[in-house]
């Protein structure tokens, strides 16, 4: 029981540290002078994806042994995020081209 609690704590600390690190990396990419705009966007995007993965793994305990229900929920989340993000890019890009 005691080792369980300890490994649990270790997971949460690892998750928090990774999340902080990835957030800091995204900030660094924007703030630092050496990184071009395009590269910075890629870095921020990839850090965000990595952070989602880290939080699912360390905070929500999603792994190889999770139940089917969890998989459905993750797939549904991906679907909705895809709709929202994809829709936004499509709408705003269309707007952008017509504003010029």
């Amino acid at each position: 029981m005691k080792t369980d609690a300890r490994s649990e704590l270790r997971r949460y600390i690892t998750g928090a540290a990774l999340s902080a690190l990835l957030t800091a990396a995204a900030f660094w990419a924007v703030v630092s002078d050496g990184v071009t705009r395009g590269t910075a966007l890629w870095i921020v995007g990839l850090c965000a994806l990595a952070q989602i993965a880290a939080q699912l793994r360390f905070f929500l305990h999603i792994g190889a042994h999770t139940k089917r229900e969890d998989l459905y929920l993750i797939l549904f989340s991906v679907l909705l995020a895809g709709l929202m993000i994809g829709g936004t890019i499509w709408i705003m890009a269309s707007l952008q081209t017509r504003m010029h």
Partner: protein
């Protein structure tokens, strides 16, 4: 702007009272009278509670209770109070509009505040808490659970919603509300054009209550996933629970978008960010995009539980199995997903290309299909059933006529070319009231009438409630259907005055309808009062006044705090109907178990109060108080983490004793058949109809 270190930008000139003293016009009189209602109403409630010595019971049994039934009822009471204000504002606006040919009794700014608060209140503090309250009350009872998955979180959700509602109420007395409509589109609501506290009231009310709604959705979804009774497979869940599941999942995904939109607007206004400004790289169109990513699913969030209620009442009051259960489940899930693909139809005219508009227009038309399936299913349920024309069925039939009409105008609006003609006109006002009132409000009123005896142990006065239902129908029809005509004549929405005399007679009709709506609301309130007065005559303590079909009707009314004496084993859909048909309802369990229930906690109240104070302080730039409020929230959460004794145990012997007492009362009672459903003889023991 000058700010005081202690009072921020708050000073004595912010109430409407001194404006009235300076300029005693009708406009200021209306504002002052409305502002006076809030403290007077609060005083009246305080006086009543003190007079009846109800503070102790209020604290113990309600405010600190973690019982999902109590929290559900408090959600509905909160929504009821806000509904009073929302309807009153609607009536004032209609009155103004009959005088608004080349002028009007209210100033344009006052009118703009009215339509902004009216929309904000009706969507966020009436419709949302109404359906959240119904789900909170009914879902655990329907799935055989003793409480929701996170009872204290449930309190916190209610506290946050109440804090947001409180902020909107305070804005009536202290300062003014924003004038940007319920959607508060920037750049008009940005710092440059709306520097005052009005938009900040909206931003904080929405931010705080939006988080509460996200948490509430989370809670109900987890409850349905994890806390179902043994044997309650997904396809054995009552239809209301299905709609609650879809709605709560939608809340989890949609409300964060609102929180993000309001937080970004907040950053623009407080910290000079430039998300939505005209200049320096801001893009105000992005606000509309994010807001409606929430806003459209919200429409279905509030209407799906109403569909669930209609599914329950059409089966119960037709004494017939729900027609097309599986198709209703699929339609519900289809609506839940498709509702996330149509948000752009709220801003067809923003300037994106025709292909984008066409795609979202088609998606909008498609979402009408599953709703149509549902309407046919309910009609087929009633077809050749033994329909009792009681209050919920009256609302359902009213819904059939009016909602189908509203849905059709929705399909018309889904066509971008038509939307270009009628958007921003009264046609739109008519359309969304036409779906929200017959959809959500009628559904919730039917649900309240249906579950009220379960919650309180007595029925509502059938005759009064019937008249109220007819009045809602007539009032709605007169108040809103003429607006389609006005819209086609070219009257814009949100216009404080008009110069076309042809609008005026139609406005008179609509104002007459508004008066009927006020009468319907008052009669609804009177129904509650008169039913409480005659509760001895209307009592149905045995809990099954309507010959119900799902688990919640098998328990006494009001249900014991632990809901089920023994957790049922569910073998099919409509388990209670099957038990009654087989002659085996009301059986003693083989063994009883100790029941663990959550202890009372003041955490929800504490966090609600702290976040309300924090929001108020932020609106008025009282930074020290805001920091204190934030600290109180964090401190409350940390303090709660140290509370280890969170449950109390009800011993099995007591549960057994309660159950035996209930069963012996059932055995002594005389069952009534459906002809005497509304007679005093109906003690809540049904002589079941032959199941069909």
């Amino acid at each position: 702007m000058r700010t005081d270190p202690i009072f921020g930008r708050l000073d004595w000139s912010v109430t409407p009272f001194d404006d009235f003293a300076a300029d005693p016009s009708l406009n200021e009189f209306v504002a002052t009278a409305a502002a006076a209602m809030v403290p007077l109403g609060a005083l009246a409630v305080i006086a009543f509670l003190t007079w009846k010595r109800l503070w102790g019971p209020l604290w113990r049994d309600w405010l600190t209770s973690a019982d999902h039934k109590k929290i559900g009822i408090m959600y509905i009471v909160l929504a009821g109070v806000m509904l009073l204000r929302g309807v009153a504002e609607g009536a004032v606006m209609r009155t103004h509009q009959v005088t608004a040919l080349d002028g009007g009794m209210l100033s344009a700014e006052h009118f703009a505040q009215l339509f902004s608060t009216h929309g904000t209140i009706m969507i966020f503090f009436v419709a949302t808490p109404l359906v959240t309250g119904l789900m909170n009350f009914a879902v655990p009872l329907q799935i055989g659970a003793r409480d929701v998955a996170f009872p204290v979180l449930n309190q916190v959700s209610l506290g946050l919603t109440a804090a947001g509602a409180g902020l909107v109420m305070v804005s009536l007395v202290i300062g003014k509300f924003g004038t940007g409509g319920w959607t508060m589109y920037p750049p008009y609501t940005g710092k440059a054009f709306s520097p005052g506290p009005g938009v900040d009231y909206w931003v904080w009310a929405i931010f705080i209550s939006g988080i509460g709604s996200t948490l509430a959705g989370l809670n109900i979804a987890v409850t349905i996933y994890k806390n179902r009774a043994p044997g309650m497979r997904f396809l054995r869940m009552p239809m209301f629970t299905w709609t609650a599941l879809c709605t709560s999942i939608m809340m989890v995904y949609a409300f964060p978008a609102l929180t993000v939109a309001s937080a970004m607007l907040m950053l623009d206004r407080y910290l000079d960010f430039r998300f939505f400004t005209n200049d320096l790289g801001g893009n105000m169109m992005q606000y509309a995009n994010i807001f409606w990513m929430f806003g459209h699913p919200e429409v279905y969030i509030v209407v799906l539980p109403a569909y669930g209620v209609f599914s329950e009442v059409s089966a119960t009051f037709s004494a017939k199995r729900l027609y097309g259960y599986n198709s209703l489940v699929i339609a519900t899930m289809a609506i839940a997903v498709i509702s996330f693909t149509v948000w752009l139809h709220h801003f067809f005219t923003m300037g994106q290309g025709a292909n984008v508009n066409a795609a979202f227009g088609i998606a909008t038309m498609i979402i009408a299909v599953p709703t149509g399936v549902k309407v046919y299913d309910w009609m087929a349920t009633m077809f050749r059933g033994r329909v009792r024309l009681s209050v919920p069925i009256i609302y359902l039939v009213g819904f059939f006529f009016l909602f189908v009409f509203g849905g059709l105008t929705g399909v018309i609006l889904a066509n971008p070319t038509i939307d270009y003609q009628v958007h921003n006109s009264q046609f739109l006002v008519a359309h969304f009231h036409n779906v929200l009132i017959p959809g959500v409000l009628f559904g919730v009123l039917a649900g309240i009438h249906y579950w009220f005896p379960k919650a309180f142990g007595f029925r509502l006065h059938e005759r009064h409630a019937r008249w109220a239902a007819y009045l809602w129908f007539a009032g709605f029809s007169l108040a809103f259907l003429p607006l389609y005509w006005l819209g086609l004549m070219g009257m814009p929405r949100r216009a404080a005055s008009y110069d076309n005399p042809a609008f005026e007679p139609v406005m008179w009709v609509a104002a007459g309808g508004a008066m009927l709506v006020v009468a319907a609301l008052l009669l609804t309130l009177w129904t509650f009062y008169s039913s409480a007065r005659d509760r001895a005559e209307l009592a149905c303590p045995l809990g099954d006044p309507w010959d119900g079909r799902s688990l919640e009707w098998a328990m006494p009314a009001p249900p014991p705090p632990y809901n089920f004496h023994a957790l049922p084993y569910v073998k099919a859909l409509d388990p209670f109907t099957i038990e009654k048909a087989e002659g085996t309802p009301y059986c003693a369990a083989e063994r009883y178990e100790d029941v663990e229930l959550p202890r009372n906690s003041a955490l929800g109240l504490w966090i609600g109060a702290a976040s309300g104070i924090m929001g108020f302080a932020m609106v008025w730039w009282i930074w020290w108080l805001a920091a204190l409020g934030a600290l109180a929230i964090i401190g409350g959460l940390i303090a709660r983490a140290f509370v280890t004794d969170t449950t109390r145990t009800i011993p099995a012997a007591q549960v057994k004793r309660d159950h035996m007492a209930f069963l012996s009362r059932v055995r002594r009672a005389r069952p009534v058949d459906r002809d005497k459903e509304t007679a005093p003889a109906n003690m809540g023991l049904a002589d079941p109809e032959v199941p069909a």
